[in-house]
Amino acid sequence: MALINKVMPGYSATLWCQDEASPTPLTDAQLSTWTAQVANIIGTSAGGTGTGTTGYQIPVENIPPFGADDAFAAYAVAGARTGAKITTQNQVTSMTITAAWNPADPALLLIRGDGYSGTIIRTYVVAVYDGTNTVAYAFNARVGGMQWDMNTSAEGKFTFTLHPVGGNSYGWTTNT
C-alpha cells in the first residue's frame, strides 16, 4: 500500500490512548514503531489493529494542533544589518482538548483518573486515516488542567490538557 497522498479533511483525525488503568507507556523507539506498538492503540476504524482491550478512542470534539513548540536562540551580530536566529528543538506541544461530557464514557473516566493521580504517563496517538492508510503521531503525556463547563447555553464540556513528557517522547509511524 502506498502512503496517503491527499489533502485530508480535519474530520479524518482521531485521538486514541492506551486503555489500562496503570499503563506502561511506549518507549521512544516504540513510539516510532507501527506494528504491534502504535497500531495496537489505534482501533480498526482508523486503520489500526487495536481492540477495546488495547486502546480507547477519546471522543474529542476537535483535534487541536499538535507537534513541537517554537523555540530559537536570537542574537545580534555587531555590524550586521539584521540579527539572526538559531532554531532549537523545543518541547512537544501540549494539547488542550475539549470533549462532550459523558460521565459514563470509559475513555473520559480514564483521563479523569489520570488527572486525579497526576503521575500516570500514558501513550496517546493522533491517527489520520483516509479509509485505506493511516499516519500516526504518538506521544507520552500526563493529564492536567481538567475542567468541566456546564454552561446552560450549551452541552456540558470536559476540557483537559495533555502535557507531553520526556525529551524525545513522540514518534511518527504509518501502516505501510
Binding site: I4, N5, K6, V7, M8, P9, Y11, S12, S45, D130, G131, T132
Partner: protein, 139 residues
C-alpha cells in the same frame, strides 16, 4: 497536492449509497417521471461541488471537497416519509468510511446530514421531506 475529483463518481456513489440505505424504495437523480404511480420514492440533487483553490498557478494546489446533496423524500403517507428519513439519518449522519459501495464508492471522512423541513403538496397528494447531506472528501 489535490487533483480535481470526478463528479461522475460523486453521482454514481450517491445513487448507490442511497439505494443501499432505503432499498427497495426507488431512488432517482433529480426527477421521477412516475411519481403519480409510486407511493414512495426518493430524489437527490447534487450541489456546491467546490474544492478551494489556493495561491499560485499550480492547478493541483487545491483543498478538500465538501459537496452537498439534497435528498427529497416523497411519500403518500406522512409517516412513511419520517420512517425513511430516520433510516437515512441513522445510516448516514456522522458516517465515515466507504461511500457508494464496492463498485462506485470512495472514502469519505464524514457525512453530515441536516434535516431541513417536511411539507405536503396537495396537488400531487404527496408528503415531502427534505434533507441536506454534506460530504467531506479527502482529495
Amino acid at each position: 497536492m489535490a487533483t480535481q475529483n470526478n463528479v461522475v463518481q460523486y453521482g454514481k456513489a450517491i445513487q448507490a449509497q442511497l439505494q443501499s440505505i432505503v432499498s427497495p424504495i426507488p431512488v432517482y437523480a433529480a426527477f421521477n417521471r412516475n411519481f403519480a404511480t409510486e407511493p414512495k420514492f426518493i430524489v437527490w440533487m447534487l450541489r456546491n461541488v467546490h474544492q478551494p483553490v489556493f495561491a499560485g498557478n499550480l492547478q493541483g494546489n487545491k483543498g478538500i471537497d465538501t459537496p452537498t446533496f439534497q435528498i427529497s423524500i416523497f411519500t403518500q403517507k406522512i409517516e412513511d416519509g419520517f420512517t425513511i428519513s430516520n433510516q437515512i439519518l441513522q445510516s448516514l449522519h456522522g458516517y465515515s468510511g466507504l461511500f457508494g459501495g464496492a463498485t462506485h464508492g470512495f472514502n469519505i471522512s464524514k457525512a453530515d446530514v441536516f434535516w431541513l423541513y417536511n411539507s405536503y403538496d396537495n396537488t400531487e397528494k404527496m408528503a415531502q421531506i427534505f434533507l441536506d447531506c454534506t460530504l467531506y472528501i479527502p482529495a
